[in-house]
Symmetry: C2
Subunit: 447 residues, 2 copies
């Protein structure tokens, strides 16, 4: 390959690919075009910057631009926006403040990420109304909280960004309300987990408004209130966190196939429908390991791993990008809540399963050993195949145990096989029957 | 089955079987003969009773004899020792203080457990020299520490009992020495993990004597010193923890097959070579999920699970007992250390593998998030098949992550498959690449 490996987008997928491709093949020319200034940053850490746990925004940068350029020999160009792909000519069009130019590629990786959904609300551009997707937005929120000293915050959307920002803003001394259209927060985590987190959020002083549609924001220059159907609630800071949408426009305009989820369709090596064009990260689909179907779960590990695999492939070692189990974990004040696979019965049925599930309350340690915490486990299986298809865990410790179930999903284990796993036991760490095993025992009794 | 389900031994395997059989088939008569007084107790909690973490020995009892008798309708007879099995007549001989009688059985479960190995040391019966296997021994040690106020303790054997008792006795104010014949403690956990624990034990004031053979104990009535080859070390309390031996004499005398490990041979349903005779728990073998060969790993979960499965089978629902991955976890003061599968290269080669391994130092949380701890992961694979065959983890938190690898072992995942697992990430819980995934990445680079 004489032409360079060109990467569009300098965050998790793009920079992982750049680094790995150079390690695989040091002679390969690697160019990264990033339209912004920040590269290789931990977006998931941003709520903790606003909270104050992370002191400097720069702390969230995993690898600095200088390191990429000098140590890793990656031609990283920030402030460069790729505006068109010509996949027949194997060339892209790049714009900066000063110029527009063409760049040919031997292989191209589209890592354009996703953006926060901006619902059609009135007053979305009032001062004090934010989404949280970029480092600049994190910076702006933190600055606003520090300089303007808002007293009341409204969070629109009870997803993980909403929950994490509620914790951050309570810590900063604000009164916080969450507005969620659905009957519960953290929808993908299932009802049992959501209810426990809801109770805990209320205990921590968060005001929850479920089944409540926001129609817009009111204010004079800066936001003063959230408008509901028949009501208005005071708020001098608003975070809109109602989901993300894959940035597919560049790919779509180039005739590259978009998948059923609305993100860029890719095969198991991350290849798009155009020759030598790959896509990875929040703009791309990944195969759901439970359903075998394309899914769009824009999370950091999937992006990092797919980017790395594509870097390896382009560097000369074909490497599978791996699928997604939709595994996620969120801190909500003193609680952790984790999920993997398919929890929602309706979604399970849509995917062709006949779901059966149990929810059990158990403990992270034996009754006689101090310091254990209650752990609530929901485990879901398909009645016919007896395969485990999903789980959630919620409690004050031990929620990382979701990884056991995530691993079981990758291996397509049955409930009985899950029950037979030889997991680690000693009183300071676990009951004899780990909570995941106990859930499997109980679920097995229902099959 | 008109004759009862008879169980020899009233701890983990036996009582799990009794309870499960009655639940499966309430009409089944279930008799348990236990030669001692204690039933259904958590032996793994005994060091924490000596330490003082667990206040009452009774707290370690999971289910009381009264509950078994009255609520679960199990005919539990303590103080009854089974002295012979006639597998042709389907009958056993039982002795109490008062009588000897025969009892016929429809099905028999041998759950005789294991005993502490008593090496041929001089002075083993001096006062103040203990093994720790039974509740009575735990009681005796605690009483001795409280009433006799020993100042120096010698622990013979650096296995998990030795490490846990070192912590317990340091907490009780004693000066503690561990004597280990091998070049390192915690042999089955591998060298990297052992070294870290050794350093930590020394930091906590434990005096480690590695490659040091004990020849006996000296004293006048009660122990005063540990005798080494050319030396003697003061000790007024000694714990001998040099391993356990399966109690197979009863089975062996009945002509029941003993397996290559010295424990009772069983099939995947826990059946011995005699018709309708099962064995489970510390006296029985289990299939190692990595090698597919019989193994003897006398740990609580294996006993509980096999007992429960046999109860289910005898009750009418044939149920696999499950294999063992040799998964174990131990607390050593502020550290946890965990293992699964095969870590030792020599043992791996004996089992027909070509082992390749990595040891990495990683962190339980991202660099920017407070409270993470170093976690050292050793991951071992077979070079040809690329299957993961074992792992150890050691650190101040996060060692329960061994369960991810244990699950991978059951599913026979390759290193690349392990690397592609979708594990849970959020900054308060994990780096983007969970330590197990990082180890898989590095090991994959060596394949």
């Amino acid at each position: 390959m004489d032409d360079p490996f060109v990467i569009v987008g300098g965050d998790a997928a793009g920079m992982s690919a750049a680094s790995k491709a150079k390690r695989e093949n040091p002679d390969l020319e690697v160019i990264v075009f990033e339209r912004g200034d920040w590269v290789s940053y931990a977006a998931c850490g941003m709520p903790y910057y606003v909270k104050g746990t992370v002191e400097e925004l720069d702390d969230l940068v995993a690898v600095t631009p200088d390191t990429f350029r000098e140590k890793r020999d990656v031609d990283l160009r920030t402030g460069h926006e790729v505006v068109a792909i010509d996949s027949e000519a194997q060339s892209i069009t790049v714009e900066t403040d000063d110029e527009t130019f063409e760049q040919s590629y031997g292989a191209l990786l589209i890592g354009t990420g996703a953006r926060a959904v901006h619902p059609p609300f009135d007053g979305l551009d009032l001062e004090g109304v934010f989404t949280l997707r970029s480092m600049d937005e994190a910076d702006a929120i933190e600055t606003y909280v520090t300089e303007r000293e808002p007293e009341t915050a409204a969070i629109v959307g009870g997803g993980y960004v909403g929950v994490e920002m509620a914790e951050a803003l309570i810590e900063r001394g604000l009164e916080v309300s969450i507005f969620e259209m659905l009957p519960r927060i953290l929808q993908p985590f299932g009802e049992a987990a959501a209810e426990i987190v809801e109770d805990h959020l209320r205990e921590q002083g968060v005001s929850l408004h479920l089944e409540t549609a926001v129609s817009g924001f009111d204010g004079d220059g800066h936001v003063e209130a959230v408008e509901l159907e028949d009501d208005a609630v005071t708020a001098d800071l608003v975070i809109v966190g109602v989901g993300v949408a894959a940035n597919v426009e560049l790919a779509e305009a180039a005739g590259i196939e978009i998948g059923p989820t609305g993100a860029i369709a890719v095969d198991e090596y991350g290849r798009t429908s155009a020759p030598d064009v790959y896509a990875a990260g929040d703009c791309a689909e990944a195969t759901n390991v439970v359903t075998g179907e394309p899914d769009h779960v824009p999370l950091a590990l999937t992006a990092n791993r797919a980017g790395r695999a594509i870097g390896s492939t382009v560097g000369g070692t074909p490497t599978l990008t791996g699928g997604t189990a939709g595994t996620a974990i969120v801190k909500a004040f003193d609680f952790g809540v984790a999920r993997t696979g398919i929890i929602d019965h309706e979604r399970a049925r849509e995917a062709g399963f006949d779901p059966v599930s149990v929810t059990i309350d158990t403990s992270t340690k034996p009754h006689y050993y101090p310091g254990g915490a209650e752990l609530t486990v929901t485990l879901v299986a398909d009645r016919e195949s007896e395969r485990v298809i999903g789980a959630s865990l919620v409690g004050q410790e031990g929620t990382k145990r979701i990884d056991t179930v995530a691993t079981a999903l990758h291996a397509a284990l049955t409930v009985a096989e899950l029950e037979r796993l030889d997991l680690a036991y000693a009183p300071p760490f676990s009951p004899v029957w780990d909570p995941v095993l106990t859930a499997a025992k109980v679920l097995n009794g229902k099959l």
